[in-house]
Subunit: 229 residues, 2 copies
């Protein structure tokens, strides 16, 4: 039975959601086929069966799982014969720290850089919802982010320091081979890449070289989704 | 042959260095005995044989290892029959991210809260070196940190978000049992605890409860070093 993932989309079917990219790459790592159903921010009732209001939502036969971290741990436990996403229990727990860091620091850092550009790439039906909810969350108009982009890019550079440190020494965050720790972090850069033509990384940043390796994985899966121009 | 660790000390032989605490707990986890040689900031020539100017320095027979992360990976590889610090290769790599995060975000966050109190607890011979080097590093007088302590404690609280998130769900950062990821992070709180009577954590913070569990490990090893009063 094919797995289904409800996957956020913007205008022209742009699949930009970082949380959905975490799931897409976790499925590729496990070698599992899935159908990615396009879903809009405002289609809350379509995923009400999941118990939540956000995607990704994964449906695998009788199992419905929401939240990208819950989905990753579900896939790890449901498909133990497939390549491991975490490399064992300690790897899973410690990857959970990176998951929490992405949520509390990396995603807020990236979204401040690209928030108006996400808005520009949404379907018309989602724009009022997005503008109202994000302006309420951040307490400032979307255009303020455009005006202060350079400051936000500089702040993100500081947030990325630990990532830069380890990628100077290792090819992958998870060590000798990519795993869920890499997908988690990459998903945030894929998000930025798909909505904004301006690169958040300098060409000589070790994170830039790692992102290139990530774009090549799974026969260029992530690279196959065209970057914004 | 006994392992020797050169271990930073303040006045009254106070062993407060977070990087040295990482090593002390890694050794306890491995069940390895060690002699902790007191060392002062200004005794650079005593550790020149290590190739560096900072502690911890570990001497294990013919092996001299400096830098707490290098020491942890040395102990893991040299004593594979002892309990693992990382739970495998993926766990080691991902723990490396937490190591880098401690260096880039947790330690700078903690030191801003307790810098003048560290100064107060140093031996007289180290005070001029410490004051001069830290004021140069931060670009402000030590007393500025005292005046702005509440701001620094609030900023640290924000830095700790990912830690708080995972410790709401798990007893240990490394999952079912403590490992090097826990020692790394705890070492920063032990540092603050030993130099400052003011707790950086609220009693209802899940990090506080975890710190209590950490203080109990290895027959109360860390608790046996009296907190500042």
């Amino acid at each position: 039975m094919t797995i289904t993932v409800y996957d956020l989309c913007g205008a022209n079917d742009l699949r930009f959601s970082p949380n959905c990219w975490r799931t897409r790459l976790a499925l590729a790592h496990k070698g599992l086929e899935a159908a990615f159903e396009p879903w809009h921010f405002t289609e809350k009732e379509r995923i009400a069966f999941s118990g939540g209001k956000t995607v990704p939502v994964l449906v695998d036969g009788e199992h419905t799982v929401r939240d990208s971290w819950e989905i990753a741990t579900y896939l790890e436990d449901a498909y133990p014969e497939k390549p491991s996403l975490f490399g064992g229990d300690a790897g899973r727990a410690v990857t959970g720290f990176i998951n929490a860091w992405c949520d509390s620091h990396l995603h807020p850092g990236v979204i401040r850089c690209v928030l108006p550009e996400i808005y520009d790439r949404l379907d018309e039906i989602d724009r009022p919802y997005f503008k109202e909810s994000r302006e309420r969350r951040f307490g400032v108009p979307l255009d303020d982010f455009r005006a202060k982009k350079a400051d936000h890019v500089a702040a993100l550079g500081q947030t990325l320091t630990p990532l830069r440190t380890i990628l100077k020494a290792e090819d992958w965050i998870a060590g000798d081979a990519p795993a869920y720790a890499d997908y988690l972090v990459f998903a945030a850069f894929q998000w930025a890449r798909l909505v904004s033509p301006e690169d958040l990384l300098q060409a000589d940043d070790p994170i830039h070289a790692w992102r290139e390796r990530m774009l090549d994985l799974f026969d260029g899966l992530a690279r196959g989704f065209d970057a914004a121009t």
